[in-house]
Every structure is written in structure tokens, then in C-alpha cells.
Amino acid sequence: MQTIIYILPELFLSLAIIFLLMLGVFIKKSFKLINLLTILSLIFAIALILNQSNEIIKIFNESYIIDHLSIFMKTLTLLFCFFVLLSSSDYIKSNNIDKIEYPVIVLTSTLGMMIMISSYDLIVFYLGLELQSLSLYILASFKRDDEKSTEAGLKYFVLNALASGLLLYGCSLIYGFTGSTNFEIISINLNEANAGAIFGIVFVIVGLAFKISAVPFHMWTPDVYEGAPTSVTSFFALVPKVAAITVFIRFMYVPFLNVFSQWQTIIVFLSIASMILGAVSAIGQTNIKRLMAYSSIGHMGYALAGLATGTNGGIHSTIIYLTIYLVMNLGAFACIFMMKRENVYYENIDELSGLSKNHPMMALSFLIILFSLAGIPPLAGFFAKFYIFMSVIEAEMYTLAVIGLLTTVISAFYYLRVIKIIYFDKPKESFQKDYNWGLKISLILSSLLILTYFAYPSILIDTISSIIIN
């Protein structure tokens, strides 16, 4: 009975899912109510998580862990899930995807992510992963009478099922060669001579790289981002990244730490490839969702660079990077949700032309967000990159640092292109101005946080400084 307390947030969410599903079945046209209840239950779950004690607890035969990392990451997941739902409700309504399943499936995938974040055992991890992935497949194809959305869902399903297969194969190899599925026992039994297990590690890394869309396993990202409804894209770009990065951190630094020299090169390669491809491919894009897809690939490259260092400072920089990335992307997608004329949503970048004339405040916020995504000081995005490169240079990986910083210059180009369209080009018709308050709050919050981060940069660092793995 004692252990139940520790998984209270997860339990609460599962009960909420069942209850909301039932409610939706019995009450007709209850999307609004269910959406509201979902948002409320997310807030309640955050409260439950923050209420958890600060000690490290392992439960269920040490297969489930609650520590600083998991608490922080779960809070991030739920918080941004909350903001995504808040900012996308207008879009959902006007695109006729306001079915009761929508918020419930979002909640289910969130539950899967929470299990992933806390997993301390290969099997528990896989269960969480599948719960998350299956829900995401459905979400991607949620606009089912739309060709692109169905295509996106199918593509996402096929490629990610393949990735899950690879991951599972890797897990089985690791189990076979180390004799356990528990992270700590694996870490004890694992050494450089254990070739079979190292083989397994490579498979696991490939599977995880698929999930965070690191190059060369990124092919699905642009298509899925473009095809899925924007509300789902914004969810994809934000929330699952948290869980995937956490799992990456957990795998690399708990069970695989002993063979650090084996996997470091792989991560460095993934990181460099993602940074370069993310920067170069985004240049020619005309669809803003595709642009955001490539931008997120590039950003994941930087996050991986922090992981490749093998130090605690590296993990901290990755977590800071992730947090700031989420804030920036929230704002960027809020702007994309505002690109609406007569209830039709536009995705072409050219539609933003001359935005500064008709919507000065929205243009200013977008400007701040884009400069921050490009990593120009004194905005938050600069600090994110700054910490990453601090830890990379501390580990004396100068090649990675130089390539990383040069790619920021290349990627600055395509962000500048969007800014050019917003500020330098001739104005088009203005967009609709009837945003709901959730959208407004998301945008204002995001741009204010980005703008004022430099005044108190130590708040975020202090919060995560307690996160220590191993």
C-alpha cells in the first residue's frame, strides 16, 4: 500500500482517462466539457507531482524510479501538454476534429510518457513507450478524412513501429548478455568486453534516435509534422521530446555508463549530423510546419551534444536546452495557430508577409522567438546554446563545438528569412484577430520568458542543479 503513494500522479491520470472516456460516451457533444476536464486533470496531476518527496525512491522491484530528474521532466511534460491543449482548442474546433477521443488520447500518450520517464527497467520502459507511441499514431491521423493526415499517420506508424522493433531487439540482446532487465544490474554486468550487449546498445540508440528524430533517422519528421493537424504537430514538437530525451539520459547514464567510450562516438555523430542537416535542409522550406520540423531536428542535435560529454554538467545543459526549446516552440506554434483568415488556417510562410504592419505585437513576439531560436543574445535561446557549448568545451570536444557554432550561423539564415518576410515584405491581408485567451497567454508567456531570461538566468540552473544521475 505504501508504494501506491509514489505513483499517485500516474494512477490519477489513468483513472481520469477511464472516467473521461466514459463521460464522453454517455454525454453527447461533450468535447468542450472533456477538454476542460482534461486540462484541469493535467493541473491536478502537476500538483500531485510537485507534492512528491525529494528523495530518490525505487519501487516495484526497483523497476520504477522517482527522483529529481523524473519529477522535473514529468512536470515539464504535463505543463507543456497543458499549454498545447490550451493554445490549440480554437484550431481543433474549426477543423472539425473536436471529437471526445482527442483530449483522452492526448492524456493517454502523456501517461505513457510519464511511465517512460520513471522507468528503471527495460520492460517497464517498453510498456510506457508503446502506450505513448500508439496514442501518437492515432493523433497523427486524427483528421481521418484528410489525405495528408492519414498519410502522416501511416508513415509515422510504419517507421516508428520499425524503430520500436529495433529497440526491442536491442533490449533482448542486452537482456541476453547481461542477464537482467533492471538498469542497475545491467550497469554492473556490462563491460567493454561484452560485445553482444554492446551490439544491443547500438540497436537501442538507433531506436531512441528514431523517437527524437535525430539524423539519419529523421525521415518521418517533416512529413508527419506537415501532414498531421497543426494542433497535433505542436504536440509532437513539444511534449514527446521531453520523454525521449529523459530516456536517452537515463539509458546512457545508468545502464550504459560503463561503456561510455563505445557510445560516445555514436552520439557525437548523431549530434553533428542532426545539426548540419537541420540547418541546411530548412533553408528551402516554404511550409512553416516543415520548417519547424527541420528546426526541431537541428535543436535535438544540440541537445544531444550536451549528452555526448558524459558529464553531469552535460546533462544539466541538455535539460536547460530542452526547457528553453519547449518555451520557444510553444511561442512559435502559438504564432502558427494565429495564421488564420475566415476560419482557414494557412501554413505557407509567405502568408506571414508584412505581418508587422497589421499585427505589430504578434510580429514582435514572433521576432523575439525566431531570434531566440537562432540563438542570438541576449535572448533565452542563446543561453541554451551557451550552456551546451560550455560543457562541450569543458570535455575538450572542440570539433563538436566548432561545427555546432558554425551550424548556428547557417540556421540563423532561415530564421532570418522568416523575419525578413514578416518585417521587410509587403503586407498581405490581415489575419483574424479573435484568438482565444489560451493562445494569447501562451504567446505572451513564451516571448516574455525568452526576453527576460537574461535578467535571472540562475533560476533555471538552481532548479535543476539537484538533478544528479549516478
Binding site: I376, P377, P378, F382, V402, L405, I419, F424, F454
Partner: protein, 500 residues
């Protein structure tokens, strides 16, 4: 004095910008009140900078008015302070900013409110560069300046503004990211990014060369040195007048300031080693860009190329490492700040009236705009370094300084002065004298009252510092002495340990 005067100087323009941002209502009244807020906050800032200069203790080389705030726990302190070198740049910045706002209020026709915000934010960031006593803070302000400048060129610029804005942004960003790597490396080598402490720490010689090159890449692009100067003519030509003024008068000076503060202060061994490189690039810049300037058809481009040549004098002065050379290069930077600002404003005045920058479309202006002809004459003579103007003081001292170190460089550089006389006087002749080129020129009005105020203040300063530069020397003297002493002792230390 306990009043945090440096923070106040940095923040006042920003507060002004926030006021303007919050300003809403009818278009006309908004523009008017924005103008007053911008003028008031930038002038108040200039006044405050004068107060700072008044209280500045000229008898010590220590950093003064130091403010410290814990910024990132145990890692970076938000530290501000000025010494004899940086205070003059603060004065220059606060003096130029109101001029830009006056000029903008004359010539900017759309998005006026946003223009004032951009200029004020720019002022804050530039002042931050000269006040900061921490490498990371310095970088923050140094790079942050790209954002408003990109917008100033891109929104209010000429026909090729997009290309120029991109070129400006990407060139400078590329140079600066290498400096960021160097800054982070310094943190891991020396354990701090505090500039005061770093000036006392001797950075191991195996790192010096690479770190120096990384800083050089940033400053050489910003200054700009030949062959990294190609962004400058584009940016100057397309930027609105106020943008060109900021660019020429202050932005380029940040790089010269960086060379003095960081390259000389932290890497004496590498500075010594690379001096021939700097001399070679600077001499090429002086001769080559002067020749290029001779052939320009576009007035702004001509002045832009002449800026590159003038900045060549600055770098040879700095790396001559003599007292005269260093003091001369600082005076040269200040006087070039005033003169180039004045020249760009002169171009702006006729551009506003005729909407052409081509030299060929002008001629005979002396008949219709006599007042303009007079001030333009003074600035032309100042730009070619006529004795009695501040341009002479700087160039003369630089040449005296370099002459002690390298006669060849000094002789070749003085050719640049002759070339400067050639292109400036030829420009003046073609624009002001001769026949009246077209009927539109006959319609042109002479300077209005605001323009007369702006130009008189510039003329006054240029001639005042040309005749009596003593206040400037008083301020920088001790800091420069101290800088050279430190440099020499550190260099000796490195050289003796190397030979052992």
C-alpha cells in the same frame, strides 16, 4: 558615489524604448510623443554621461564606478565599470544617439515609432559593450546589437536592403561565434570571465595564438579589416542615414575597443607575434580601399570605403604599441566617429531632397545650398586630416607612433592621407561646384533649423578637439600608460620563460 550611474546610463534608453512601445493612440500624436520621449531619454543620457566624465578620476588607471551583481551563481558576475579608454566611447555613443534620433525624425516616413525603439535599444546595447567588465556580458551586448541593426537596415533601408541586412548579420555572426568559443575556453583555462582578473592572469602561451585568432576573427569582421570588409559598403549604402551613422560612428569602434582591451590586454605574446599580419592587412586596407574610394559613383559607398581606410590607421596605431600610436588611434576612432557621422548626415540631407546618392546627379549645390556647402567643406577637410581638425590629431599621432616601430608601414600609410585628400576633394568638387546639374537641384532647399543645430554641434566638436585635444589626452593618458607597461612586462615574462 553610490548611485549606480553606469546601470542608469545603460537602462535609460531601454526605459525610453519601453515607454514608446507602450505608447498607443492616434497615429500622429503617437509619433510626436514617441519623438519627444526618444529625444528626451537620449539627451538625458548624454547629460548623465557628461556627469560621469566630470566625476571620473583621471589620476588612476583602475576601473571606476564598478558595479557588481551576482548573475549566475558562482560563475558569472554582472560587472560594470569604466576606465579612461571606455569612458570616451560612452561619451561618443551618448552623443551620437540623439543625433540619430533627430536625423531619423527628419527622414523616416513610416514605422517611425518602431524606428525610435530600434535606435534606443541599439544605444543600450552599445553602451553595454563599453561598460561591461565580464567577457560573457560583453559578448551578450556585442552580439545583441545585431538584432536592432539588422532591422534598421532591413526595414528602413534602400532597394537592396534585404541582401545587405543578411550579409551584415551573417558576416558578423560568423566572426563572433568563434569568439564565443574562445570566451568559453578562457573560462575553462583561467577559471573566470571577469575582465579585471583576466588582465592579471597570464594565459598559457600554447593557448594564446588560437584564442587571439578567435578574437581577431570577430573584431576583424566588425572593424572591418581588409579582406573582411565587403559587408560594410553594402550595409552603409542600403542603411537609412541614422543607421549608417550608428554603424560608422559606434559599431566599428567596438572592434577597435576590443583589440585594445582584449587582444593587447590578455594575449600580449600573440599580439606581438601577429603584429606583422595586422600591419600588412592595415596597409593594404589603407591603400587599396582609398583607391577603390576614388572610383566610386555612389557617395555613401565612397564614404564607406574611406571608413575602412581610416580604420586601417586605427589598427596600425594600436599594434604599434607606442604611447603616441595607441593614444592616436583612440583619438582617431573618436574623431572618425564624429566625422563619418557628419559625412553620412551630409549625404542624408541631399538624399532626402533629391532621393539619389549618385555623385553624377549632383553639381553646383553651392548656388542653391550655401550653408550646406560650408559645413560639407569643413567635414571634407576634417576627413582628409587637415591640421586644426580632430582628424589631423589622430592620424598624425598614429603615424608618429608607427614611425618608431616600422618606417615602411608609416611611409606607406601616409600615402593614404594623400589619397584621402584626392577622393574627398574630388567628391566635394563634383557635388558642390560646377554647373547646376538639373532643374530639380534648383528647387532644393538649404539646411533647416534642426539640421543646422546638428551640424553646428558636430563642427564645434571636430574643430574644438582639433585645436585643443587636451581633455581627451587627460582622460586616457594614465590608462594607456598602464596598458603599455602591463603589456611590456607580460611580454617579457613570456619571452624569458620561452627562452629558458
Amino acid at each position: 558615489m553610490n548611485f549606480p550611474i553606469l546601470s542608469a546610463i545603460i537602462l535609460i534608453p531601454l526605459i525610453g524604448a519601453l515607454f514608446i512601445l507602450a505608447n498607443r493612440g492616434e497615429q500622429k500624436t503617437v509619433i510626436k510623443s514617441s519623438k519627444y520621449v526618444a529625444i528626451f531619454s537620449s539627451s538625458a543620457n548624454f547629460f548623465l554621461a557628461m556627469v560621469l566624465w566630470y566625476y571620473f578620476d583621471k589620476s588612476t588607471s583602475e576601473f571606476q564606478f564598478v558595479e557588481e551583481k551576482n548573475w549566475i551563481e558562482g560563475f558569472i558576475n554582472f560587472q560594470l565599470g569604466v576606465d579612461g579608454i571606455s569612458i570616451l566611447f560612452i561619451l561618443l555613443t551618448t552623443f551620437i544617439a540623439p543625433i540619430c534620433i533627430f536625423s531619423g525624425s527628419q527622414s523616416i516616413r513610416f514605422k517611425v515609432k518602431e524606428f525610435f525603439i530600434a535606435i534606443l535599444v541599439m544605444e543600450t546595447l552599445m553602451l553595454g559593450v563599453f561598460c561591461s567588465l565580464d567577457l560573457v556580458i560583453f559578448y551578450l551586448f556585442f552580439e545583441g546589437g545585431l538584432i536592432p541593426m539588422f532591422l534598421i537596415i532591413g526595414i528602413w533601408g534602400g532597394p537592396k536592403r534585404v541582401y545587405s541586412a543578411f550579409k551584415f548579420f551573417l558576416f558578423t555572426l560568423l566572426g563572433s561565434v568563434l569568439m564565443l568559443i574562445a570566451i568559453i575556453s578562457i573560462y575553462w583555462i583561467a577559471g573566470t570571465t571577469d575582465i579585471i582578473k583576466l588582465l592579471d592572469i597570464r594565459i598559457p602561451q600554447e593557448y594564446q595564438y588560437l584564442l587571439w585568432l578567435a578574437f581577431f576573427s570577430s573584431f576583424a569582421v566588425k572593424l572591418p579589416m581588409w579582406p573582411f570588409h565587403t559587408w560594410l559598403p553594402d550595409a552603409h549604402v542600403e542603411a537609412p542615414t541614422a543607421g549608417s551613422v550608428i554603424l560608422a560612428a559606434i559599431l566599428l569602434k567596438m572592434a577597435g575597443y576590443g583589440f585594445i582591451r582584449f587582444s593587447l590586454g590578455m594575449f600580449p605574446l600573440a599580439s606581438d607575434y601577429f603584429t606583422p599580419l595586422i600591419f600588412a592587412l592595415s596597409v593594404i586596407a589603407i591603400i587599396y580601399t582609398s583607391l577603390v574610394a576614388l572610383m566610386q559613383e555612389d557617395m555613401k559607398k565612397l564614404i564607406a570605403y574611406s571608413s575602412v581606410a581610416h580604420m586601417g590607421f586605427v589598427t596600425i596605431g594600436i599594434f604599434s604599441l607606442t604611447k603616441q600610436g595607441l593614444e592616436g588611434s583612440i583619438i582617431q576612432m573618436l574623431s572618425h566617429g564624429l566625422i563619418s557621422a557628419a559625412l553620412f548626415l551630409c549625404v542624408g540631407v541631399v538624399y532626402d531632397r533629391l532621393h539619389s546618392r549618385m555623385i553624377s546627379s549632383y553639381g553646383g549645390l553651392v548656388n542653391v545650398m550655401p550653408k550646406y556647402a560650408v559645413v560639407f567643406m569643413i567635414f571634407t577637410l576634417a576627413a582628409l586630416g587637415l591640421p586644426g581638425t580632430s582628424g589631423f590629431v589622430g592620424e598624425f599621432l598614429v603615424l608618429v607612433g608607427v614611425f618608431q616601430v616600422n618606417i615602411f608601414v608609416a611611409v606607406t600609410a601616409s600615402l593614404g592621407i594623400i589619397l584621402a585628400a584626392a577622393y574627398m576633394l574630388w567628391l566635394y568638387k563634383r557635388v558642390i561646384f560646377g554647373k547646376i546639374a538639373s532643374s530639380e537641384i534648383k528647387e532644393m532647399k538649404d539646411l533647416n533649423i534642426i539640421e543646422i543645430y546638428i551640424f553646428t554641434s558636430l563642427v564645434f566638436l571636430i574643430i574644438f578637439f582639433g585645436v585643443y585635444p587636451d581633455p581627451l589626452f587627460n582622460t586616457i593618458d594614465i590608462s594607456i600608460n598602464n596598458l603599455i607597461d602591463d603589456y611590456k612586462t607580460n611580454l617579457n615574462f613570456y619571452l624569458t620563460t620561452e627562452s629558458n
